[in-house]
Amino acid sequence: MASVCGTLEVAVWRSASGRVAAWVDRCPHRGMRLSHGFVRGEMLSCIYHGWRFDGAGRCRKIPAHPDLDPPETIRTQSLACLDAQGVIWIASEAPAVAPPDLGNVVPLRSLTFEAGIDAVAAMTGEVPDRSLLRLDAHGPVPPLVLLLQALGPGRSAVHALAAPTGTGALVAASRALEDFRRRTEAQGIAA
């Protein structure tokens, strides 16, 4: 899938065995977006000419030259990447610190907001519990962890995790997040 790390466009993918990798979203061949490619087994194939890359980003097969063992120098540009607690963390340089321990939570869902990360962060100030409880009609909402990701100017992603709880409460939490998005985006329009 396509994602963003700072100003870098990134392709993130998971192999059949579950290994996660994040690369700059450009094929070393002709620059096609690798996020348009497809995963088969432990390799990602570029959609354009089918060059195949292993989890470490090294080119392993060039279909136009089936007998060639591709030189080791043909590689994608890899980012630091860590899969923990249902969250994939990426960094353009090896980070000095490990991602935070999020506590006892399970992934709920990711939403894209048509609002910059600062606007979303400002709104989260009023999120915890009280405003979410406005949605009590759908059942009580469990505590949520929201991870904010800048996707560009005026755009961000919110990755939500919830304390493990019943299905009904998770559905309510999902609806609360939509309500939060509507209010955040409305703020932007009002501003």
Binding site: A2, F38, R40, S45, P66, R109, S110, L111, S174
Partner: protein
């Protein structure tokens, strides 16, 4: 005698009928209509068949259907594959109807944006894309909730006409400048549909590459 589909290969609505027939294992006669650039759907002979001048049209014996959702239901019943109509309890049946009606909103928003971008149809493109985005958000949320309940498809745990009705315009949203990147649950759902037995393609909508044999390794896999 097989039903006859008046068909245009690039039309997502025509594709719905082809896909439905393929998924229930039926065959259709196909009559190609030159929608673009010919505009044959606006010509008198075609209007005799469908005064609305829309594609597709499905005829079978004396029956003439011009609404795609009706065609899907007809093809399913004709094939005796009524599991594609969803459960019979009131809630299940209503959920299917809900998404069939919703599919018309996809056509009016994402479909319009696509016609604008591909064929230059006049439209308020920002309004069409935003309406499409709101539809996709609604769909994404419903699919998230379904997954929380352990359901893989729009109206429960098995695919129905509702999935076939909604899938094409969603899958082709990028043709109208609306990305599917923000919708992980939708992307997972489209993958489940593209992996169904009998699935057929249209230009811009492909079978899962992951399930195809590697080029040059077809014999080994066979």
């Amino acid at each position: 005698m097989r039903p006859t589909l008046y068909d245009y290969v690039l039309s997502p609505s025509c594709y719905k009928a082809r896909l439905m027939a393929a998924l229930v294992g039926s065959e259709l006669e196909s009559v190609a209509v030159d929608f673009h650039p010919g505009g044959d759907h606006r010509k008198p002979e075609f209007l005799m068949l469908n005064p609305a001048g829309t594609l597709p049209v499905l005829t079978h014996g004396g029956l003439i259907l011009t609404e795609t959702t009706a065609m899907l239901v007809y093809l399913v019943r004709l094939a005796g594959r009524c599991e594609w109509l969803g459960g019979e309890d009131p809630a299940s049946a209503a959920r299917v109807q809900q998404w069939l009606a919703f599919s018309a909103r996809l056509t009016a928003s994402l479909g319009l944006a696509r016609l604008h971008d591909m064929l230059g149809r006049p439209a308020d493109i920002d309004a069409a894309r935003w309406a499409g985005t709101l539809c996709l958000r609604e769909l994404e949320s419903a699919l998230v909730e379904n997954r929380l309940l352990g359901e893989d498809f729009l109206a429960g745990n098995a695919p129905t006409v509702a999935d076939v009705a909604c899938f094409p315009y969603v899958m082709l949203a990028p043709d109208g400048g609306v990305s599917l990147d923000p919708y992980p649950a939708i992307r997972a759902w489209t993958r489940r549909i593209r992996a169904l037995p009998g699935f057929v393609e249209m230009p811009g909508i492909h079978r899962l590459h992951d399930l195809r044999p590697e080029p040059g390794e077809a014999e080994a896999a066979a």
